[in-house]
């Protein structure tokens, strides 16, 4: 099971957080801070696994993370997940974001949090891996995007003027 998926930047600012167990907003922030603290002090060329996120689940859980430019992608998982498998999954996630946003950067995530969530929802559901095939994920995301566009309304009109 995946317990949580966190994306934060090099300064610890959350860019997306998805918890598959309920925590209060305060605890969530604390977890993000703690995780950032653990992850950020690690060198670039050390392994991507960390034991014992203290707040989420305790010692049974592992933090598996990848660092891309300005962003950390952190998956908190329990022992039923394969460490290397999750690393691959993070890669798939990032590549999918890259495809969907066309050269994804931190700003894309900041301004399109909902879209990131929607993409993630096609990969992981309720803490379990739903789909790992990138093209399948993209197909579904795009199909839903199309549906959204077909439901034209003012909400979507361009607002660059402001």
């Amino acid at each position: 099971m995946i317990k949580a998926i966190l994306i934060f930047n090099n300064h610890g600012k959350p860019r997306m957080s998805k918890f598959y167990e309920h925590y209060t907003e305060d605890t969530e922030q604390q977890i993000i801070r703690e995780t950032f603290h653990l992850v950020s002090k690690r060198d670039e060329n050390v392994c991507n696994f960390l034991e014992g996120g203290l707040l989420i689940g305790g010692s049974e859980n592992k933090l598996i993370y990848r660092h891309y430019a300005t962003l950390y992608f952190v998956f908190c998982v329990d022992s039923s997940e394969s460490e290397l498998g999750i690393l691959d999954l993070i890669q798939v996630f990032v590549e999918t974001l890259d495809k969907c946003f066309e050269n994804v950067c931190e700003l894309d995530l900041i301004f399109h949090l909902d879209k990131v969530h929607n993409i993630l929802a096609e990969m992981v559901m309720g803490g379990m891996v739903l789909e790992t095939n990138m093209s399948e994920i993209i197909t579904q995301v795009e199909a839903q995007g199309k549906m959204e566009k077909s439901e034209t309304f003012v909400f979507q009109c361009p607002r660059q003027d402001r």
């Binding site: 997306m16 060329n45 034991e51 949090l113 909902d114 559901m125 309720g126 549906m147 309304f153």
Partner: protein, 1251 residues
């Protein structure tokens, strides 16, 4: 209306959308909180508007704010509003927000049930998808209960996109609503073989997750997963399955054996590191579970270790880390294999990555030997110096101590070295593990006598430099070592070179800043030192030094008398008074040293940590009995209730107690007093493992009987001491022996740390004085290891510990969409559903029986059998889809008349599946042991009493095979009805087996073989044998009154001629008709579909339709055939009578006892009874006979009374109550059809009159 929308849209123009919000926040870095609070106010305004687009926009922004840590639960209702929008865009926003902030405590969740249900059944797959995704995050027990059925339906949705989501979410539903697991499980299992890989993967995912928590319930799925493992190419699925197997193997070592080969193949073939790693991991788990160390598995271990080495050597830190992690698992069971890679692991200790260093440290534990211990520890000590973080340093420290102290200091050859290491470790700043070092010091000093001199010297230095340890911070954990140092110096003060100096060091004012418990030890041991000093000066004429010492104590002790710590205070004042008294005596020139020393005389010996526990409770001692009467509630009424209720029972206990132990206790008390005179000091809460001292408080517990097997009793010592003495003696001997051998070695090793002559010769290879149980934790003898102990009672998975192999009961249905759940069901429905489960259950047990029988047969045969079984399983699987063309020659496959697979059948299959020797993966399929067919027919030759002698076993055997073939054909014909057919077909034939099961729950006597074949007719050419009718009944309802009966007839050619053109014909009666092919006239015969060469028999089946079953029927029939010999052919015929007994219309139908009771209570049944005299067969034989010949099943059996049940093909219930006493059997029967009952009873009577 339109205007309103337009207006809304215009309003919207002035609202911020998500991007504006984010931009705003970024522009207000300095007053972000303030800016956000104004935004929240705006959002609140927006949420008040009617326009759903505005609301959705607001909710979208809230989702963002939620991520930043703002509580948005106040908008829960608005989120629900947005969720229920008909537009997908808004719906998705709503569900996203809900998934981020809804939880079980959110009260509006209950409003969403219907909305979610609507979305789940939406024609748009993305509506459904979004609802499922959302629900997976916030599903509550109520939602789970209400929606379980809807989701389960979605598991069979046409779109794989929905199916996979529905499958995944079921896990969440199970967690919240465990009752749904059993009803949903069959479908979930089906999804393991879904054509869509995504759905399949989801199902594997869910089952793995379930099985991880309660593996034993999923063992029966192992064959299925095995199949998936050997067939799947999806690495995700493979990883999950392999991980699952890792969890299953500890429960079933045989599974492990089966896994090794395919896993090894995968290890060799896969290129995916993740898969390789998981395979290695599972192989390790398998090897651990087969801890017996099968020799042929050493190759697997080697393979694993070798692959892991590749991982560890990889430049990828991740692989290195995982390699080490897996290596440490091997270490536990196969340390040798890991030890050869010591170089690699030591190398990892230098890795820059802390995680990797920690993993390598774990491994070191198993790598040390007597030879390399010092070298390794030296390396670690270097790391300790270099280490920056305290956590890593602490880890190093504990590891050093772990490594050195493991297996009772097994690898330490030089204890002086070890003491120096410990002393060096005290220089660590800020470690939390001071107490650990302290306990090691104590342990070594106490247990290794020869080291004491050295230890004391070291400790004295430590005490002298105590300021270095306590200097920096108050919280410094390292000062714990002073506790040990003080105690060692005091206790073994005779080894001190300058006790005076140490005494002085222990009484420095700075000591008062130490923690109380340490001060207490200081004070106590100062007194010991004092005694030593006195004794030292005693001989000398100069009493000045001695008096100075007393003065020193008198000067310094008041500081401790003032201590806030009670322990310190008490000890200090005691000792102060003592010293004052001594001083007085000294001034009178009285020699006191002797007496003072006597205070501390006697040696403290280590006691095994578990010794206290092992003390047996003396006979007659009831620890739970009151020693004094418990104070009663009210004082005034004290007397009366006692007289009434308590009586003298507790008193009795007490008196008996004293009686028994009086002498013993007196003796012990004497012994103990003596001992205590020698040992007046008791150290409180020593952190060492030898903390069980003989404390005064436990005086009345007979500590003495630690081990009754100790043969020798030395008076004046507690038994534990004797125990120890024996041990020491043994070791002395050992030592003496070894000394000679190792003298050379010793010399080489020495020279480190200290001058050669300062200790006794044998010092360096002392084996520890006593064995401490480090590894095995003892438990009370009758304590059972319980699975539940380690499970958290709050763990949601606990509720999912559900036996999935048990067939579904009727009550287990997912709640459907009704406001009031329907409780009542028609009895018929009830019966149908209830009738299935026990049947399968029985089957499994029967199959076990089968297996036993198989074993009895010779080995060749059983091997053949296995092959057969495998094959026929394949056949059966194929049957589900298409009928395979079976070549007639392969007779084994004719056994395919096996029962349909069911969950419970698989459970026992598992045994079979596992028991078979490993075969190539492709052939390893789920197998169902062949049904009773074979045994029942095999029993024919020996058992059939009426059977003519000339029936050769060979004939029967071949006929058996032919028969199978026939059956098979039959099955093909009746494919549609297959399932049902299978069931009772099975029972019809296997009744004997059933009854064996039924009747012999506790009986041991074997049942006489039974057969239900009877000769119909025979002449010189042919013999017709008829098997009891088997029924196929039509419950389809359109012709409820008409039932079909299948009659199998074996035709056996007894002549030397060829028989052909057989035609079977029966004169139909009004009630019973032979089913003829369409277009045939009512008097046409049926061609028997085979010819019979000489000596061959074969079986044919004929279907009859029967109107009424309440009466037995007799049908006249003729068989015509052509006898073809070499020169001529003649036409022959044989007449026969087919007898349809009422019994033959009964189907063995299991019945639950409660359903049975209900049935009897219902009053719809009419009763009748029967008495049989002179039956002198065992009761279980009797029952077995009834079961076998009359198709009953035993509902319940109590002693010589049993209730039995059967059902006719038209649904009549027949209940029997069979009682036996003194050769008389009385049968009370009830049935809803009196004439049927009467006939059945008649037939019963007849059966028993025959024997």
């Amino acid at each position: 209306m339109a205007l309103k929308i337009v207006k809304g849209s215009i309003d919207r123009m002035f609202d911020k959308n998500l991007q504006d919000l984010v931009r705003g926040i970024r522009n207000h870095k300095e007053d972000e909180a303030k800016y956000i609070s104004t935004c929240i106010d705006e959002i609140k305004q927006e949420l008040k508007q009617d326009n759903i687009a505005v609301k959705a926009n607001a909710v979208c922004k809230l989702t963002y704010l939620q991520m930043l840590g703002y509580d948005v639960s106040w908008a829960a209702f608005n989120i629900v509003e947005v969720m229920s929008s008909s537009k997908f865009t808004f719906k998705r926003i709503g569900y996203l927000a809900a998934s981020q902030c809804f939880h079980e405590g959110t009260d509006v969740i209950m409003l969403t049930t219907n909305q979610i249900r609507k979305d789940l059944s939406s024609p748009n797959q993305y509506d459904t998808g979004v609802a499922l995704t959302g629900l997976s995050c916030f599903v509550t027990p109520d939602l789970a209960r209400d929606l379980a059925n809807d989701i389960m339906t979605l598991m069979s949705h046409t779109k794989p996109y929905i199916r996979k989501k529905a499958v995944l979410i079921m896990y969440k539903v199970f967690l919240k609503y465990p009752e749904s697991l059993r009803p949903a499980f069959p479908r979930l299992k089906e999804k393991l073989e879904d054509p869509d890989p995504g759905v399949q993967s989801a199902a594997v995912n869910v089952i793995c997750e379930l099985a991880r928590r309660n593996p034993k319930n999923y063992l029966s799925l192992a064959p299925l997963f095995f199949k998936l493992m050997t067939s799947s190419t999806n690495n995700w699925v493979l990883i999950k399955i392999i991980k699952l197997f890792g969890a299953l193997t500890p429960l079933e070592p045989r599974l492990g054996k089966k896994l090794i080969e395919p896993l090894t193949n995968l290890i060799h073939s896969t290129s995916a590191m993740s898969l390789l790693y998981e395979c290695v991991n599972t192989v390790i788990a398998v090897l651990i579970s087969l801890s017996s160390g099968m020799p042929n598995h050493s190759a697997s271990i080697q393979l694993c270790v070798q692959k892991l080495r590749i991982l560890i050597e990889d430049s990828d830190q991740n692989l290195k880390y995982l390699g080490l992690l897996a290596m440490s698992k091997i270490l536990k069971t196969h340390p040798k294999s890991v030890q050869s890679h010591k170089d690699l692991i030591l190398q990892c200790l230098d890795d820059k990555d802390e995680s990797i260093r920690l993993r390598a440290l774990d491994l070191l534990y198993g790598m040390v030997s007597k030879k390399n211990l010092m070298e390794i520890v030296k390396k670690l000590m270097l790391h300790v110096d270099k280490a920056e973080g305290t956590t890593y340093r602490d880890e190093l420290l504990t590891k050093i101590i772990d490594i050195c102290s493991q297996s009772n200091y097994q690898y330490i050859t030089n204890f002086e070295w070890y003491i120096s290491i410990l002393v060096e470790l005290t220089r660590l700043e800020g470690t939390r593990h001071g107490h650990l070092i302290a306990s090691q010091m104590l342990d070594v000093a106490i247990r290794v006598k020869a080291i004491r001199g050295f230890a004391v010297a070291q400790m004295a230095t430590l005490l002298d430099n105590a300021h270095l340890l306590t200097g920096n911070t108050q919280r410094n954990g390292i000062c714990e070592v002073l506790y040990a140092a003080a105690w060692i110096c005091g206790e073994f003060s005779e080894h001190l070179e300058d006790p005076m100096q140490t005494l002085e060091a222990m009484l420095r004012p700075k000591v008062a800043t130490l923690p109380g418990h340490i001060q207490a030890v200081y004070v106590q041991n100062a007194a010991k030192l004092f005694a030593t000093v006195l004794q030292k000066h005693e001989g000398e004429t100069d009493s000045q030094a001695a008096q100075e010492t007393s003065q020193l104590l008198i000067d310094r002790l008041p500081l401790f008398v003032q201590s806030a710590n009670l322990e310190v205070q008490e000890r200090a004042s005691c000792i102060l008074q003592l010293v004052k008294y001594i001083q007085k005596l000294q001034q009178k020139n009285v020699e006191v040293a002797e007496e003072v020393t006597a205070l501390f005389a006697g040696e403290l010996n280590p006691v095994a940590p578990k010794a206290q526990k092992k003390v047996p409770i003396p006979e007659g001692l009831d620890l739970d009995a009151w020693i004094n009467e418990p104070p009663s509630e009210s004082e005034s009424e004290d007397e009366k209730p006692k007289a009434v209720f308590a009586k003298e029972e507790p008193k009795h206990y007490r008196s008996r107690n004293t009686e028994v132990d009086e002498k013993e206790l007196a003796r012990r008390r004497e012994v103990r007093k003596q001992e205590q005179a020698n040992n007046p000091f008791y150290i409180k809460a020593s952190p060492s493992s030898q903390k069980v001292y003989d404390a005064p408080g436990v005086e009345h517990i007979p500590v003495v009987q630690i081990d009754l097997s100790v043969p020798l009793k030395v008076p004046g010592m507690p038994m534990s001491d004797q125990y120890l003495k024996l041990e020491e003696e043994r070791q002395q001997k050992e030592k003496a022996e070894r000394k000679k051998k190792e003298k050379k070695k010793k010399r080489e090793k020495r020279g480190k740390g200290r001058k050669a002559d300062s200790g006794p010769e044998s010092e360096e290879d002392i084996t520890p004085a006593q064995h401490v149980d480090i590894v095995t934790e003892e438990m009370p003898e009758n304590a059972l290891p319980s699975d539940d102990d380690d499970k958290d009672p709050n763990d949601p998975h606990r509720a999912l510990d559900i036996d999935l192999d048990k067939p579904l009961a009727d009550s287990e249905k997912l709640p459907v969409r009704t406001h009031r759940p329907e409780v009542l069901k028609s009895p018929a429905e009830d019966r149908v559903s209830e009738s299935v489960p026990p049947e399968t259950k029985k089957k499994s047990s029967k199959e076990k029986k089968e297996k036993k029988k198989d074993k009895e047969k010779d080995r060749k045969r059983s091997k053949e059998e296995k092959k057969k079984k495998k094959k026929h399983k394949e056949v059966e699987e194929e049957l589900l889809e298409s009928q395979p063309e079976e070549p007639v020659q392969s007779e084994e496959t004719k056994e395919a008349a096996a029962p349909p697979t069911s969950t419970s059948a698989e459970a026992s299959d598992l045994d079979f599946w596992l028991s078979s020797a490993p075969v190539p993966p492709a052939a390893q399929e789920v197998t169902v042991p062949s049904s009773a067919v074979e045994t029942s027919s095999a029993a024919v030759p020996e058992s059939e009493p009426d059977e003519p002698k000339d029936t050769e076993p060979e004939d029967t055997k071949s006929s058996k095979h032919k028969k199978k073939k026939q059956k098979k054909e039959k099955e093909e014909k009746e494919k549609k009805k297959k399932k049902r057919h299978h069931h009772h077909h099975h029972h019809g034939e296997a009744g004997g087996e059933d009854s064996v099961q039924n009747g012999t729950v506790e009986e041991e006597e074997p049942l006489p073989p039974m057969s239900n074949y009877s000769v119909l007719a025979e002449n010189s050419f042919i013999k017709m044998m008829r098997e009891d009718a088997e029924q196929v009944y039509d419950i389809q309802g359109n012709h409820q009154d008409e039932s079909k009966v299948v009659v199998s007839i074996i035709f056996e050619n007894k002549s030397d001629s060829f028989l052909k053109s057989m035609e079977f014909n029966v004169l139909d009666s009004l009630n019973s008709k032979l089913q003829r092919p369409e277009g045939a006239g009512p008097h046409d015969g049926l061609t028997v579909p085979f010819q019979l060469p000489p000596g061959v028999s074969n079986e044919a089946r004929f279907v009859f339709s029967v109107q009424s079953i309440v009466m037995p029927q007799k049908l006249k029939g003729t068989l015509t055939f052509i006898v073809k010999s070499d020169e001529s052919s003649t036409h022959e015929k044989l007449d026969f009578k087919l007898h349809f007994t009422c019994t033959s219309y009964l189907i063995t139908t299991p019945c639950y006892s409660d359903a049975y009771a209900k049935l009897l209570e219902s009053g719809d049944l009419k009763g009748s009874s029967l008495r049989l005299e002179g039956i002198n067969m065992p009761f279980h034989h009797l029952l077995a006979r009834i079961c076998f010949h009359h198709h009953f099943s035993v509902v319940e059996r109590i002693d010589s009374c049993a209730s039995m049940y059967s059902r006719s093909i038209q649904g009549h219930h027949v209940c029997l109550l069979v009682k036996t006493s003194d050769q008389t059997v009385s049968i009370d029967a009830k049935c809803d059809e009196p004439s049927l009952l009467g006939n059945v009873l008649d037939e019963l009577k007849q059966t028993f009159s025959k024997c």
